[in-house]
Amino acid sequence: MSETIDPRQKILAANAAAAAALRSSFAAAGTLVLNLISSPGSGKTTLLEATTRRLVQRLRLGCIEGDIATERDADRLRALGIPAYQILTGGACHLDARQVHRALDEAVFPPLDVLFIENVGNLICPTSYDLGEDFKVALLSVAEGDDKPFKYPAIFARAEVTVITKSDLLPYTSFDLDAVRRQVTTLNPDGVLLATSSRTGEGVDAWCQLLADRLAGKRRQPA
């Protein structure tokens, strides 16, 4: 006999539960958590290096790096004096909340003001996985082209902050920053867009200010 039931539940319910547990422990610790998502090579780690150089004296920073292979990105941040833990996904194209939970158990970080989670380089797969972050940051480098928000709408619709990286390359490309701004606004009317260059430092202060403001905002909220 054939029967049908209607469970009506989220497919990623298990991940959502793990993310909710992370979110409440981050709230209790007063740690601001960012989930950075972009294509490989868009400049995530380089922006984190530039951010660390500016903020390391003022804020307690830490980092979880997601990569398919190598400790390279975690090493780059450790070299600047902040704790970093490398998750090796061994082929998986995204991080999930359970991996972040295990990473935090193993890493035993000191108390942090800001935790950066650099996701595996990929503009698609990490989108659906909540990691307990305060917000997602989508990064798009100038060399990738100005049509990307409409081609990858899911991440740009969800990321509260979009960072255009490598703005020093604008003079050498036909990248139209206003076109990107329009696409991001269409997908995400409340989203914030910043243009940065980790090479020249353009926009990096504004980015650091955004982090400081968000951290202050989070600390004002009753946990």
Partner: protein, 126 residues
Amino acid sequence: MHELSIAQEILSSARAALQPYPGARLERVRVAVGELTAIEPELLRFAWEALLEGTPEAACDLDVEWRPAQQLCATCGVPKARPPRGWLPVCGDCGGPLRVDGGQELDLLQVSFVVPDGENGHERDD
């Protein structure tokens, strides 16, 4: 290819939903996938087949209901007709800004199954 991880989550949720029915075999699973989830229905179906191949449930179908996002006029609140997977810059009627609604669904909707003869009934909590 995160569709394989998603297919695994669907399968384990569907199996968990069948726990009150001992011996039940999955026959059909229906899910909703929103346009803004970064999941491609076609890839999800491939992943599903690959996952079940060679198992007793290999014949179990996965129905994917596609849920497009809507663009609503922020002023008049009316959904505007958009080209498939295309985006409107502003409201075609009043020129005002649009907001995006929906398209985030990633839900297990329905699980159909057979309980082989001889498995006498099922206990439910409710």
